[in-house]
């Protein structure tokens, strides 16, 4: 079977799964729905392997194929086919997405089992995977936009999954609207591409672009900047990131799958996919790289002070995506994609472990209240530490190899790009500190009430769940883990998923040891063929010096975290008072929400209200009254004539005839 046939099957299974579960929500028992959902994604993964094998069986030069089912909307010179594009990059993404998704489905099978909305959850989740696969397999910019918007919708649906929570519905709305802004960027970019190149098709566009544009021509820069709007909105880069922390309102598997492992990395994929365009617009690429860098640092500072477990991990996600965006923008394409993969492993794992702890805490996410889970939940703790080690880039773990590869590339590119290496290491230090801050505050220490109960009885009797944000009682009818919510560790599917990911997080990096195996680079290289940037390769020396520095920084960061949170726990409080303004800034998330509220939301609402109160009433209705007055006035004139006196009718008649007679007399003479 050809690679494209496999790719179509990759798309087919999740879609079928979603439809079957969605339509059969009354008929299918809950367990069956979970199995159908998980198996369909597993099949997609298997088909992804099929595509991989069939690609590997070909000549590296020929590893790109386009295939189309039917003309989707092709008239008037626009060529929009329902087509896919299969090359090593898309297959790589397919494997990461479907692989991690399979594990997360498995995890959800256990995690969501006491939730009333089980069918809905799996239907949405399958739909999400379908959309994400559509996004990475799309063969033209229109279908890309479709996939792009579909994942945005799936993300909306899953964020507001517990839809009786006002906080959740509001967060969903926010995510959706910001994502639509991103979609618009993408659509405008597509228009501009069509205007300049006369096609939406990847193959045609990438072929014609180098011939059409000169480097840094305004149009190509504009195209790339518009693409970046899309990428930034989806990948939660500054300043379009505010939806991501709020998105943590969704169930934890959702945070793990969508808001850590897959969807938020779509921006990285987009830049890698359109690298041909970005290389023609170095200015835009630099904008992207600096935004990535800024996000990396800003998000890391926020992650340092957050007390909400899931939000802290969410900021860490932002920060890590900053690395990836930076990587693919400066030309470290394979390294960026490699980091995307390892990040998917360890961040999904971290969220799963966090979900397990949060479930034990009866949905309380405040790390100030946590402690002692190391003893209470041994399996979860071990996986949590594995994830944190990889995130902190502890030597030998997956994050260690992938992060340093990006930084080494920046060093090899030299010049201005050394900034990225240096500040990247600053970010790495913060990463190590915040990841172990979470570990040290949650796992060791004196067990909190829930952990104590777990140790003693092996079970937590939950109270009726409450929304931590507002304190109101949760509506468990609609689908919310009720009071008999299972402790994560006791569910075998969840253990399997977490175990597999823990192993991958630890050893996943071994496939890409510089100078030893280089599997990822070797596989992806045909995609960047002909790119001058991809040809830059850090020397082995640079690689290993980088790895050395990275490892040292990771150890240093972990050490700092140990001192701050274990050895001298009074220190963080002192630091907080000493650096009060800075802490306030970080804890208030740099006031981005407030700024957007002030600059965008309020003016829009004010305009709406003005339109409603003043404009509609005065101008539009004024127009009506004006028209009405005219008609009424004219009517008055006519009415005055109809006075009922026979004589005046006669007079009018005679006058009229006299007038006519006069007219004929005058005109005939």
């Amino acid at each position: 079977m050809s690679a494209t046939a496999w790719a179509w099957l990759v798309l087919l299974f999740p879609l079928l799964g979603s439809i079957v579960i969605g339509l059969g929500f009354r008929a299918l028992p809950a367990k069956v729905a979970g199995v159908v959902g998980t198996v369909s994604i597993g099949l997609a993964f298997a088909c992804g392997i099929g595509a991989l094998l069939s690609l590997l069986g070909e000549d590296p030069e020929a590893r790109h194929h386009a295939s189309a089912l039917w003309d989707y909307a092709s008239v008037a010179g626009l060529d929009i086919k329902l087509g896919i594009f299969v090359d090593p990059l898309s297959v790589f993404m397919v494997l990461v997405v479907s692989g991690v998704s399979t594990l997360i489905h498995l995890y959800s099978y256990g995690y969501m089992q006491s939730d009333e909305g089980y069918h809905r959850f799996f239907s949405y989740l399958n739909f999400f995977v379908f959309s994400m696969l559509l996004l990475v397999l799309a063969g033209n910019f229109v279908l890309l936009t479709v996939g792009w918007a579909f994942v945005g919708f799936a993300s909306y649906a899953l964020i507001s999954f517990w839809y009786r929570r006002e906080t959740a519905t509001r967060a969903g709305m926010k995510a959706f609207v910001i994502n639509v802004v991103g979609d618009i960027g993408l659509v405008l970019a597509a228009f501009l591409i069509f205007r300049e190149l006369g096609s939406f098709d990847y193959g045609t566009v990438f072929e014609r672009a180098p011939e059409t544009f000169t480097t840094n021509e305004w149009s190509i820069t504009a195209i790339c900047l518009l693409l970046l709007v899309g990428a930034f909105a989806k990948s939660a880069q500054l300043p379009l990131h505010t939806w991501l922390p709020d998105a943590m309102e969704g169930p934890t598997p959702v945070s793990s799958l969508i808001h850590a492992a897959t969807m938020v990395t779509a921006g990285v994929y987009l830049i890698a996919r359109t690298h041909v365009l970005f290389e023609l617009a170095p200015t835009a690429a630099d904008v992207a790289a600096f935004t990535g860098l800024a996000t990396l640092l800003v998000a890391a500072t926020m992650a340092l002070v957050m007390t909400d477990l899931k939000r802290a991990i969410a900021y860490s996600t932002m920060s890590q995506i900053g690395y990836m965006i930076m990587g693919v923008s400066i030309g470290a394409y394979s390294a960026g994609m490699f980091h995307l993969m390892t990040h998917a492993f360890f961040k999904a794992l971290l969220f799963m472990a966090a979900g397990s702890i949060i479930a034990a805490m009866a949905n309380n996410q405040d790390i100030d209240r946590m402690g002692g889970f190391g003893k209470a939940m041994r399996f979860t703790s071990i996986t949590f530490v594995c994830g944190a080690l990889a995130l902190a880039a502890f030597p030998g773990t997956s994050g260690f190899f992938s992060k340093d590869e990006i930084l080494a590339f920046a060093e090899a590119r030299g010049g201005m790009y050394l900034i990225f290496t240096m500040l990247g290491y600053v970010g790495a230090l913060m990463t190590a500190v915040y990841s172990f801050r979470l570990v040290f505050r949650v796992l060791p220490g004196k067990p909190c009430a829930e952990a104590q109960e777990l140790i003693e009885t092996g079970h937590v009797a939950h109270e009726a769940p409450k929304n931590p944000a507002t304190g109101e009682a949760e509506d468990t009818d609609v689908g919310f883990p009720g009071s008999e919510h299972h402790i994560a560790e006791q569910s075998a599917p969840m253990r399997v998923a977490m175990g597999v990911l823990a192993v991958l997080a630890l050893v996943g990096g071994l496939i890409q040891i510089p100078g030893v195996d280089d599997v990822v680079t070797g596989f992806l290289d045909p995609v960047w063929e002909g790119s001058p940037l991809a040809a830059i390769e850090p020397s082995l020396g640079q690689d290993y010096v980088g790895l050395g520095i990275g490892g040292a920084i990771a150890l240093l960061g972990i050490g700092i975290a140990y001192v701050l949170y274990v050895a001298r726990p009074e220190l963080p409080g002192k630091l907080e008072t000493r650096l009060r303004p800075l802490h306030t800034l970080f804890a208030n998330k740099w006031y981005f929400d407030e700024a957007i509220d002030f600059l965008v939301v309020r003016p829009a609402l004010a305009i709406g209200r003005f339109a409603n109160r003043v404009f509609e009433r005065l101008v539009v209705d004024g127009l009506v009254s004006g028209t009405e007055g005219t008609v009424r006035g004219a009517g008055g004139v006519v009415r005055a004539v109809q006075n009922g006196f026979v004589r005046s009718y006669a007079l009018l008649l005679i006058a009229g005839f006299a007038g006519l007679a006069l007219y004929f007399l005058l005109s005939s003479s």
């Binding site: 004539v641 109809q642 006196f645 004589r647 006669a650």
Partner: protein, 99 residues
């Protein structure tokens, strides 16, 4: 005799009739004045017919007379009806049709 004289007479008759319709209030008199106007028209028709030298105009005049007769029948009928109902015979008081 010159046709113009007939036309002048006809115009005078018509003007008299029109004046009567406009200023008198009794429906009876108004009806008479209307007859006057119609007959002014008839006079003109007959005069032109004589001038042209064929009878077509006179045919029209006969038709107008018939119509005038009908009109008088209806008009007088109305007046009698008004009188029977003891309403004032004054057209200014009969103005239900005002808008």
């Amino acid at each position: 005799m010159n046709t113009e004289w007939f036309i002048v007479l006809s115009a005078l008759l018509f003007a008299t009739g029109a004046m009567g319709v406009l200023i008198r209030r009794s429906p009876m008199v108004i009806l008479l004045c209307l007859e006057l106007m119609l007959n002014a028209g008839n006079l003109a028709l007959v005069a032109f017919s004589r001038m042209v030298g064929n009878g077509q105009g006179q045919v029209f005049a006969v038709i107008v007379m018939v119509i005038a007769a009908c009109e008088v029948v209806v008009g007088l009928g109305l007046i009698v009806a008004i009188f029977r109902r003891r309403l004032p015979l004054n057209v200014d008081d009969l103005r239900e049709l005002r808008g």
